[in-house]
Amino acid sequence: MIDIGRFALAISFFVSLYVVFASLFGVLKNDLRFVTSARRGIYAVFFLSCISVAVLINAFLTDNFQVRYVSHYSEITLPTHYKITGLWAGQEGSLLFWIWGLAIAMAMVAFQNRKERDHRFLPYAYAILMVIYAFFAILASFITNPFELFPANQVPPDGNGLNPMLQTYGMVFHPPALLWGYVGFSIPFAFAMAALITKELDPLWIKKTRRWTVLSWVLLSVGNILGSEWAYAELGWGGYWAWDPVENASFIPWLTASAYLHSVMIQERRGMLKVWNIFLIVATFALTIFGTFLVRSGVLQSVHDFGVSEMGPYFLTFMFVTIAAATYMVYYRWNELKSDNQLESFLSRESTFLLNNVILLALAFATLWGTMFPLISEMVTGEKITVGPPFFNQVNIPLFLVLLIILGICPLIGWRKATAENLRKNFILPGVLAIAAAIALISSGMRDVYAILFFVFSVFVTVTIYMEFHRGVRARKKLAGEGVLKALGSLLWKNKRRYGGYLIHSGIIMIFVGITGSSAFNVEETQTLGVGEGMKIRDYTLRYEKIYFHRESNYDAATAVLTVLKDGKKQGIIEPEKRRYDKYAEEPTSEVALERSLKEDLFVILASIHEDDRVTIRAKINPLINWYWIGGIVAFFGGLYVLLPEYKRKEEAEA
């Protein structure tokens, strides 16, 4: 049974080589039969990788501990849904999961374009994607194979169990979203390279891959946000982002991808920034590989310590080959990549897009620099010098602030060149309301300059987004004579890309508000309490009632019961917990107790248990933090909205 999975994976590698050959041969000899055959090969690869994945999942579900990988990450008593997540719990499996994602994406691309005969770049794109597939399939088949078995006489009776930190719902969604987000950028990358090879450099390759770009961006965003929610609710240190190398590794490609998402719009509309766009998509793709390398190679000190493996050099080589090939192709096609237009004015939408790109790239560079500096300094001077969160905050906060204000200004400025009249008309309302917000915040006693600026800019941007909706609705009411709701509905339905984009922007503002509130105004208290005693934190009192010990499916737990009082009134009961998993008895874990509201979170941890049932409690108030998650959800739905099929009409929408 296991052999079927192993063989399917190995065969898919050989089929992928065939696809590379067939598609290249087909396009070079102008023989469509080979291209068709290559496309079928892609379906075959998809089918084979599905078999591999099914076999591995089945091994988890049937507790087949002869499979090393299963015995490493599962145990008999593990709940079923965590057994399935075992697929991506470790390196071997997550590589297989990566491959599977690529195979699915490729099959979809091949299917979408099955009737396409006019574009020579498609076969090249297939070939490039299959080279990527082949690379990962070699790693998964021959270097870290998830189907490796123990000798038949040495099968362990039970597995080692899944690490307790991974036994949480974060585990179910965070890794797949992140991994498939990474995978998705292979598609625009491959199309960009194919466009360079075939000289078909009109924006068609961008149009064809737009949905893939948006989808990958959405997945990467969701992956990052879920990761931080996981860190917040599970790891129990009270924060959600620490500028740790592993976090940065997934944040940097997100930044370049965000830049790409915006700058391709300029190429589509104005035929500018062609080289820049190719640079961005190559950078994004290379950074996803680099991220995988950082996480797996162990070259950097991180608290997220994934097992160090021998895979590092492979990823690094692959990344350098990618960059070298892409650089050569851009150089080779330099003359075909000239801009059709020039920037005309500072006050144009193009230049705000450009500034947005510069800031996103600056963020990416600063984050990469801070992450890599210990390595660089050790290589150059022999001394390791590191930077911590203060560095990232000091550089990135002002950059984020600029990014936020551009988010508001951009829609107010027309394409090409804005007039003074246009500016005055558009800026008055948001400007006035932002100033009013500033006065209100300062007079209410807020003194943190960054916090004030972030809140004020958020007001500004929110108003500009509202104005966009308002203006659109008014125009439709006038033109089509529709009522407000109908006008809003058809406005949203007919311009999904535009209004979905605004929805994403609203989400981003909420995220900024959440980050600002929780980082500038949080309070923390730690205290040891006897039964019946209480501790104060701001206007809350936590009264410790009792502790009870209980047994669950695969762990023992101690749960403290505390009554939450706010201004003397009872608010509810909160139960932080300590767990000791059977397979990880030496590493007790804490279950955070959270009392969530739109205004703030009360975050409580049972830090330690003493004799006479006395307990040490750590409590924290994180103001506005839930806007961070809500913003993530809003941005997610905004992204999905953009992905819906476009409304068909003769003229392109005014974007």
Partner: protein, 149 residues
């Protein structure tokens, strides 16, 4: 002035601002990252500076006052276990903290007392996200994989 010049100048100004931002932040917040032996040999040159240090927690030296939340222990480097430093940390003992784990400390070092006053304490637990090493009788891994799982 030609338009392209204007854009070039604006671009240069933005670029230099960003470089200056990164440079000043870097000057203010970069710290040395040392192992225990490095700390002991260079300790006197870094008095009063913020430092990051990594080491392993020595068995039998852990002393945790869970009421006052003060954690004291000795740390050493695997390759030079004769060199130790004393560490004191005020705060909750992390769940995964125990003898033998690797820790990353941030704080200041006093060479006279050979004492590292840690403001933050991070535990680098090898088995944190990976499965545990299987019991020895089942273990027939390739040598590279056996190093750290």
């Amino acid at each position: 002035m030609k338009k392209s010049h204007k854009f070039a100048i604006a671009g240069a100004v933005i670029f230099l601002t960003i470089v200056a931002l990164i440079y000043t932040a870097f000057q203010q917040s970069s710290v040395y990252y040392m192992t225990v032996p490095e700390l002991k040999s260079k300790g006197s040159s870094v008095v009063g500076q913020g430092l990051r240090a990594s080491g392993q927690v020595k068995d039998g030296t852990i002393n945790y006052d869970s009421e006052k939340l003060i954690l004291n222990f000795d740390a050493f480097e695997k390759e030079m276990s004769s060199e130790i430093i004393h560490v004191t940390y005020k705060g909750i003992k992390p769940d995964s903290f125990k003898a033998g784990v690797e820790v990353i400390l941030e704080g200041k070092y006093d060479p006279q007392e050979n004492l590292f006053k840690a403001k933050t304490l991070l535990v680098k637990c090898p088995s944190r996200y990976e499965g545990k090493t299987p019991p020895p009788d089942y273990k027939q891994e390739k040598p590279t994989e056996g190093g750290k799982v």
